[in-house]
């Protein structure tokens, strides 16, 4: 899948914003951790709402017809994209009542704003779940069609939220071992979940070129895609990064997204100045940005089967099976040209 920059920014930034809000509500309303000052509560709330809003605005960046974006609330009954939009907007009034309560009453808020805060936190989780289900519900992209997808969106949102939460707390001199500990637990849990996802998509199966073309009992090879240059389909679904690129980015995901932040918090626990928590926050956001790029780049749409891929997982660069002499695609550099619709071995009619 072609990774759209605006969608990467949206899911990472607003995901971290929702995660931060969930942490704020948990620490403040459930009474976990040290008491927070009025200013700290407002800072957490303002940063999370700001990031959520920025993310939602960025999400319209990939729309080809932005003036109809308001219509995306119309299909709540069937569309996860619609549900995400509705829950994302529904979050605001509850977060607003909670924020107003904090603004007027400080940390000791009344039961009504507290209830609104709890509801907003639950809506934040539901919004993250809906974002994951936008991808998880697609049967056409086998790498996404799993319960691990929404689980990852929720867990990564919370993990980046915890690093931000710990970092903002240092500004108010309120950083405790608890902040670092919670962040480390969330990061490790997210890393394990992500590792399970990467393990799972390495052996995902589904339709093949045989079921796609209906010839189930023969080898099928693409001779010609029937177009001389790229199309919408090749642009959108033909994105085919090299294996070593994927491996390098995956390394970056784990190093920047999980290992470095955990090390930062570990060093805080063993006496380093708490201010370096900001390093963990920035590092985890960059790492999860890379994770989101990989999430799109590694996903392979089944329409690729019509363009020469043999299975849902293999790259178009892999040679067709059972053919050695005149393989349509043997040279990986030739296969790169598929993005332009120029199929090796084809006449380019």
């Amino acid at each position: 899948m072609h990774p759209a920059f605006s969608v990467i920014l949206f899911t990472v930034i607003s995901g971290a914003g929702y995660g931060l809000f969930i942490l704020l509500a948990a620490f403040h309303l459930a009474g976990i951790g040290p008491a927070m000052s009025h200013g700290e509560l407002l800072a957490h709330g303002a940063v999370s709402l700001g990031m959520i809003t920025l993310g939602l605005m960025l999400s319209t960046g990939h729309l080809a017809n932005k003036k109809n974006a308001w219509r995306s609330f119309m299909r709540f009954k069937t569309s996860w994209l619609s549900r995400e939009a509705v829950f994302a907007v529904l979050f605001y009034p509850f977060a607003g009542i909670y924020g107003l309560g904090v603004l007027l009453q400080g940390a000791a808020i009344g039961p009504l704003p507290a209830l609104a805060g709890v509801i907003a936190a639950v809506l934040a989780v539901i919004t993250l779940f809906s974002t994951g289900m936008i991808y998880g519900c697609l049967k056409t992209i086998r790498q996404w069609n799993t319960a691990l997808t929404p689980a990852n969106y929720i867990m990564l949102g919370i993990a980046t939220g915890t690093t931000l939460f710990a970092a903002i707390a240092t500004v108010f001199g309120n950083a405790t071992a608890m902040h670092a500990g919670v962040a480390m637990v969330a990061l490790v849990a997210a890393a394990v979940l992500k590792a399970i996802y990467y393990f799972w998509i390495s052996r995902v199966n589904g339709p093949t070129i045989n079921t796609a073309t209906t010839f189930n009992r023969a080898t099928v090879r693409l001779l010609d895609t029937g177009h001389t240059a790229g199309t919408f389909l090749t642009d959108e679904f033909g994105y085919d990064p090299r294996k070593d690129t994927i491996d390098n980015v995956k390394m970056g995901v784990f190093l920047l997204g999980f290992v470095a932040p955990v090390l930062v918090f570990a060093s805080i626990l063993s006496g380093a100045p708490a201010g370096i928590a900001w390093l963990a926050a920035v590092s985890s956001l960059i790492g999860i940005g890379m994770e989101r790029w990989l999430f799109f780049a590694e996903a392979k749409h089944v329409v690729r089967l019509y363009h020469g891929a043999q299975t849902c997982t293999n790259s178009l660069a892999e040679p067709a099976r059972g053919r050695t002499s005149v393989a349509p695609v043997t040279d990986p550099t030739d296969a790169r040209r598929w993005e332009l619709g120029d199929t090796p071995g084809g006449s380019g009619s």
């Binding site: 339709p207 790229g230 019509y306």
Partner: protein
Amino acid sequence: MRLGLVIDMDTCVGCHACAVACKQWNTSGTTGALTDYRPYGEDPSGVWFNRVRHYEVGDYPNNKTVNIPMSCMHCQYADCVNVCPTGASYKRPEDGIVLVDQDKCMGCNYCAWACPYGARELDREDGVMKKCTLCVDRIYDEALPPEERQPACVITCPAHARFFGDFDDDNSEVSRLVRERGGVKQMPELGYKPVNTYLPPRITRPIPIDDVRANRLVSSVKDWVNKMVAR
């Protein structure tokens, strides 16, 4: 009614006439224009509702070239309609045709992601998703003589490989063909229940593949001379 196409993979010669006729009709139809980008440039591209792809099926010597034209399958379970957040994508209950309301579409590409058959293409100039309409503006046009109330691709096909009709009617030509020729669907395991059906190639007599020329004295001498004499 469940309107759709039957495509005969045995008689399709892969001439792309259906794709061109589709482009011509629909670019001036209800969803037109189907934009061409850089039509005279180095990397021309554009929106098409119908694309023909060519495959080699089987291994030499038992192989065969098969041409597979593909447009919207007008699936019974059309996930493109379910995922659409704006309600722009819809399936007509009266005849099963899947359409896009271009006034509502916001161009998010989500329906194209949900379609396994690559039937939807974003028009980057108009910013809206476009797809095969089964020539809805043609098949119901009472100003046309009845035999012309068919999709443009069906009318134009020089090999007569395409058929249009109602799959709910057991006596229609499409139902009969599917019954008699064992019609097949693409990627049935995904559960989209595509309406368009493909007819597999018929079983034919084996074509001799060894050298059919008899190895006579004259031909042997000719071959030898041809090898010896430099041209």
